[in-house]
Amino acid sequence: MLHFALAGNPNSGKTTLFNALTGSTAHVGNWPGVTVDKREGVYKKGEQPVNIIDLPGIYSLSPYTPEEVIARNFVLDEKPDCIINIVDATNLERNLYLTTQLMELDVPIVVALNMTDVLDKNGDCIDVRTLEKRIGLPVVEISALKGDNVDELMKRALETVQKPRKGVSVLKDSLLGSAIANAEIALQLKEVEAPLFHAVKLVEKDEIEVQTHPSEAKAVQAFIKENVAKGNETVDTEAEIADARYKYITAHFSTTLTRARKPDYNELSKSNKADKVLTHKWAGIPIFLVILFAVFHITFSEDFLFLGALIAPFGEWCALESDSVVKAIFFAGGLNSPGVILFNAMDAFTAWLGDMIITGVEGLGASAWAVGLVSDGILRGVFGVLSFLPQILVLFLLFSILEDTGYMARVAFMLDRIFRRFGVSGRAFMPMIMGFGCSVPAMINTRTLADEKEREATIRVIPFFSCGAKMPILLAVSGGIAASFGVGNADVITYSMYLLGMVVALLSLLIMRNTVARGETSPFIMELPIYHMPGLKNLMLHLWDKAKHFIQKAFTIIVASSIVVWFLSSYGWNWQYVDNMKDSILASLGQFVLPIFTPLGFGSQLSEWGWVFAVSAVTGLIAKEDVIATFGVLAACIGATVQGGLEEGVGEVMAMISATGIGIPALISFIAFNMLTIPCFAAAATAKAELGKGKFRWTLLFWLVTSFLVSTMIYTIGTWVWTIAIWVVVAALAVVGIVFWNKFADSKAEYEKNK
């Protein structure tokens, strides 16, 4: 099968084109193994099926960010049959800069000129035929969003594959043209593939290139000194080449664009007008905070838009009304948010389905253990988790919308100044906020960060931004606390825990950037894309991917671990079904690990059933959904009667609370521990793949230490307020220690340098 690679700038519509080409066949390539995180799909509408590979969005083939290295290595090593270079017509010059680099490769290329419809609207137009002639590559006008001309693009691409293409450079007649030609011949003699591309990079003194061809690099520099510099000290080849590329583009390519009017900076585009408000000097940051609050409010609130007071007079009617539809929408005299309504609907559905299945199994005359396995082992676990799917999707959808519109880039712009204080750039904000959805794509997204140390520190704190799978823990335990102890509002506890995660993340960044990942604050140079409406189709594809992944996990990992937990909690060491879970295998294993969790408040100090929390936390290492699934299984095994009419998970937590006698500080500490400790298998594996060699061990240790420390702090301060004094002293000592250590390290480095 033919392989076509999609390359282009970020925000050029690459992913949209990818979806338009591959439709539902696209699959996001696994947990990124080691090398390339590429999305692949098959284009089936042509004469022959073509494998389409979506490369990360890049501005250049210079190795600045890990993403650029990935894309560069892919086009050089994997040798696609054709590169489809998507170019944003509204931003021609910068997009064609990448094109001038790609055309130096010996690979057939087709230029997909996207968003010409936007140009039309402004009255501007591009003379495509002239552009095609001057670039020397086929150019096809498309609209990735509407899917216009996409088949024509593929037809042209298939034509170009027919005959091989030799690389050409726009730098031929520039100052360094002779040096490039010279290097090309040297590399050809060495039988290097794509000699022209490598020659240009050699002349440019590209780090990777100089390392691979050290002797040629020397020869090239000598040639430049002799023939180009001519008396001058040196030639700034890097500047020369970038300059020559842009000059060529402005002289030959930009002229094919006819503008209806001369660009006027004072005339604001729609995007600029939106930014007048959204990044306003005073209002910008408050607006962001309101948006962030709204996202969580829409997902979690049981008092939507604070209408509770308004509809209170009808509260009695709601309480009397036994209709489950009404109950799903109204709750305790308030109006539920869309997230909660969907949750209730899903919950009602799984409860109904569960009853049906259990009745069915019982009807078949299955034995007691089989019924136990199905109802307590599988259904409790899986449905307990599945009920949260709607809320996870709502949160994910809202963040996807914010990202797709281009607003997240503005947030990075506004918050950079603050983030810099914590040792990372505003850019690091994007992967962090993605962490609220899932840590895995968030960790991969750190590849847009140029600085290795910044990237490392960011990957480590991403799990602290509580992901969708941790949401059930937060909601169920918060709900349990509110219902069991009659304190506060479950929403407030949930929000506070999210906030706690963020605070711990920022403090950890600060500490890391002053200790193990010390270094200069990384640069912040970022495009602010034009705002646009997110495409419904793309959003839905995103959402579908997420839902599919979650459901797959629920029916594989979570079913399996629920069965294991059920088995261990229902059988004793003698492989006999036990009547009392206290005699089970799990109980004795739980007793064994229990002391570790004593400082955190859910260890030995709890009564006989105390180990259920420890066991749940341990199962959370497989998948975070497992914590609540395990609760479900264990609550059933305790034989607790779960009160009806409660949200999924809350009843189980209440049963646990009454069985163990656990207090509020220990429960909060339990949530914090699950949020901050080693994330699930998938996230840990991603971190391992993304981090440099030897860094993963320390990362695991960092997660363990942070979670134990923070949870212990919460438990001790919550239980004995005076211990706050001890913690303040510990923190102060740590700060003093770090400051002195760094002073010492600095003066040592200074001394070494002077020596």
Partner: protein, 73 residues
């Protein structure tokens, strides 16, 4: 000689040189900050830094510290 970081909101200039070295300079070039390009200072971030500039038909944000490597006239 004037630096990009010294530009006031609403002012424009033409880039004459890009100083500094290494990866940051490389990135500035890749993003189109090369001699001859016209830049316009659109706005400053709410906290005064970074800045937002318009060049080559798009909007770019960078910190003042990076902008101080760019000479304009």
């Amino acid at each position: 000689m004037k630096l990009l970081s010294q530009l006031k909101v609403g002012e424009k200039g033409v880039i004459t040189a890009v100083n500094g070295e290494g990866a940051i300079r490389r990135r500035l070039f890749d993003m189109g900050i090369t001699p001859g390009a016209e830049v316009y200072l659109r706005k400053k971030a709410p906290l005064g830094d970074p800045i937002e500039i318009a060049l080559r038909g798009y909007e770019l944000t960078l910190r003042k510290s990076e902008a101080s490597q760019v000479e304009i006239e």
